[in-house]
């Protein structure tokens, strides 16, 4: 993306928004992929997904002190805490029949409200400051424009995360089981693998992803009282745009959201309030399955 470099003067002002759209889109991808897995694979509608991200965000605010060690620590603690919350959710969801979205929505939304209040009670109503490592605090020049160093590094890290996710789903036994559970859940059960175990595993993985996104994304979408709602909303839009079928669809949708929210806003600021939802409506109208096909097409 950086290699696109300085184009003509007409393109030049939009270079940074376009680059930032990639950073924002990749953050949305990492944050939303957990929800997409839950919904698409385990068929669990987890409205507490934003809470999982917020847990990561608050962990980052509490532990980061401007050093690299604290970043690694915050990442570990945030991922574990969010994954543990995911397992807790799976436990709470056990009595709720799979596919009963209304009960799932009510239960997980209740957990999200209670969890949100607990976070505010624990960390206070103010938006806490997030201190990234000093080396990433400043800004760098990209093709003659100033851009936040942290966001540039974030693009690389999030891309690595996305690639790792793809490999895990495609190449490992766990990933194969998860994909098999989508294609033919009865057959997977016949093989002696409990769908309940897969469900707990998927929620834990979703929590870990959201937690990682929360820690690493804290300087971009920071922790605060509205964070959980923002992330949940963006994740649901990813589901609508990208479908539940494939990682490629999720990635495409997340990047589209990133560009709509940055490049789109830079090009058409007066349309900013409804750009995202206009895009969502357009995709639904033209192609109800989302931007990409089914999961197996990953």
């Amino acid at each position: 993306m950086i290699a696109v470099a300085a184009g003509t003067n007409r393109i030049d002002p939009y270079l940074i928004p376009a680059l930032d759209g990639v950073a924002y889109g990749l953050l949305v991808f990492v944050a939303a992929s957990g929800l997409v897995f839950c919904f698409g694979v385990a068929n669990i509608l987890n409205l507490a997904h934003g809470l999982l991200y917020a847990i990561g965000g608050y962990t980052a605010a509490a532990l980061l002190d401007g050093g690299w060690v604290s970043l690694a620590l915050a990442l570990a603690v945030g991922v574990l805490a969010a994954a543990a919350t995911g397992v807790l959710l799976a436990g709470l969801l056990t009595p709720v029949a799979t596919g009963n979205h209304l009960s799932q929505a009510l239960l997980t939304f209740g957990v999200a409200l209670a969890g949100g209040s607990l976070l505010v009670a624990g960390f206070g109503p103010d938006n806490p400051q997030v201190q990234v490592p000093a080396a990433l605090e400043g800004s760098v020049m990209v093709a003659g424009h100033r851009y936040a160093a942290y966001r540039l590094v974030f693009i690389v890290v999030a891309a690595v995360l996305a690639a790792a996710l793809y490999l895990v789903v495609r190449r490992t036994r766990a990933g194969m089981l998860v994909r098999a559970a989508v294609d033919d859940p009865e057959m997977v059960a016949c093989l002696g693998v409990s769908p309940a175990r897969i469900r707990a595993g998927v929620l834990a993985a979703a929590g870990a992803l959201a937690g990682a996104a929360g820690v690493l994304g804290a300087p971009i979408i920071g922790p605060g009282t509205g964070t959980a709602d923002t992330v949940l909303l963006l994740s649901l839009v990813v589901v609508v745009l990208g479908g539940l079928g494939s990682m490629a669809g999720t990635l495409l949708a997340a990047l589209a959201i990133g560009e709509i929210q940055t490049l789109g806003v830079a090009l058409l600021p007066s349309a900013a309030p409804f750009l995202l939802f206009a895009a969502m409506a357009a995709v639904l109208a033209v192609r109800a399955r989302g931007l990409a096909g089914r999961w197996r097409a990953a």
Binding site: P13, Y14, H101, G226, G243, L284
Partner: protein, 397 residues
């Protein structure tokens, strides 16, 4: 039974949820009462939970500080302070105010963070004929006969700083703010006054750029437009988490060296801590700063610091002043300070000495005619703080 439901129904579920999450509603109606004796009942309504918890807490603490430093008395009478939670807006504020006014029968009401809450509570005030000495939110009101505010009108900060920006910025100014009533008022105050004295906006169509609120968390695309506009300075108003996002992203953006002027709420209170270094050097206009050099303020700040971490905010000050107003009004209302008598007495107070400097109620808007200050975020000991660097206009009508 298959574990998966058809994709379309899940897409619909997700779309519906997204729609629900983007909308919210608020409404309010209903009515108040009184009480007296050797003691007097005062009701304080403030957001002690929800989005504005930080502001609500400051308002409660500011009022309490005045009571604590005045033997718990207002106008020579022992105060029975009844605190209620305003929540996020009129929906929760109106029932809470109704209880204070009708059940507890308070003699006066104070506090209220949100403008929408004030609008919702006003009919109840008129029904029960109890005065409100509000300390923050102030919507457009047709009838202010029982409504007084110790804070400000939303368009006054911008009006007060316009001349300074005109004098000190060589070039056009880019105006940007959040897309809701408070944002429109704050920015209109600046752009109207700035335009009248010959100032030119850098915005493409000559009109303020409004960002979706509260949806905007990424301001970078707007910064790219500001850069392209060639603006010599930026004027803005944001509060809460949007203020944190705006300031932090501004400091790392390609317009980081463009001077930033703002209504004081951009860097006031808790948000300044969250912004940290990114807020350094920002100019803002406000009716108060904890480093103002007068006897009232020195006493106020010392008393505040003895009980709380950090310096008092304009929110705490306005509530402290609301208590001072009630103190004098109850004292002047005679041996039987009914709500009506207190309301009449407030209208005859004249000059009020305050940590912000002397001010008085406007006879038409019932909000302060007061001096505004230019502040800059500078190092103060170990922390960054809003430091007064000059006096601006006295505004009020």
């Amino acid at each position: 039974m298959p574990l998966t439901t058809p994709w379309r129904s899940r897409a619909l579920t997700a779309a519906l949820l997204a729609a629900v999450l983007t909308t919210s509603t608020a409404c309010g109606d209903d009515a108040p009462g009184t009480g007296a004796g050797g003691s007097i009942k005062i009701g304080l309504l403030a957001s002690l939970s929800g989005t504005y918890q930080a502001v609500g807490t400051e308002i409660r603490d500011g009022f309490q500080l005045y009571l604590d430093t005045h033997d718990g008395k207002l106008g020579g009478r022992q105060v029975d302070l009844i605190v209620a939670d305003e929540g996020n807006g009129a929906q929760t504020a109106v029932p809470a105010a109704t209880k204070l006014l009708k059940q507890d029968r308070v003699s006066a009401l104070t506090g209220i963070v949100g403008g929408g809450s004030v609008a919702g509570v006003t009919p109840v005030l008129n029904e029960t004929k109890v005065p409100l000495v509000g300390s923050n939110g102030r919507p457009e009101l047709k009838d202010v006969s029982r409504v007084w505010h110790t804070s400000y009108l939303s368009d006054e900060p911008g009006e007060a700083i316009a001349q300074h920006v005109r004098d000190n910025v060589k070039g056009s100014v880019y105006a940007i703010g959040p897309d809701y009533q408070g944002g429109w008022d704050e920015l209109r105050g600046f752009t109207d006054a700035f335009g009248k004295i010959g100032g030119k906006l850098a915005n493409a169509d000559g009109k303020t750029t409004f960002t979706p609120f509260p949806a905007t968390t990424n301001f970078l695309p707007y910064f790219a437009r500001i850069k392209a506009s060639g603006a010599a300075a930026v004027y803005t108003f944001y509060a809460g988490s949007a203020a944190v996002d705006f300031v932090k992203q501004y400091a790392q953006s390609e317009i980081k060296d463009v001077p930033l002027y703002a209504a004081g709420f951009l860097t006031e209170g808790g948000v300044l801590n969250a912004q940290g270094e990114a807020a350094r050097d920002i100019y803002s206009v406000l009716n108060y700063s904890p480093d103002l050099d007068n006897a009232e303020n020195r006493a106020f700040v010392a008393a505040w610091k003895a009980k709380h971490d950090g310096s008092p905010t304009t929110y705490a000050l306005a509530s402290y002043d609301a208590a001072a107003v009630l103190d004098r009004a109850i004292g002047a209302a005679g041996s039987n300070p009914t709500p009506e008598a207190i309301n009449t007495a407030i209208g005859q107070l004249g000059q009020i000495a305050s940590p912000r400097g002397t001010w008085q109620f406007s006879t038409t808007t019932h909000s302060p005619v007061q001096k505004w200050y230019l502040r800059q975020v500078r190092q103060d000991g170990r922390a960054l703080s809003n430091t007064v660097v000059g006096d601006l206009a006295t505004v009020g009508r």
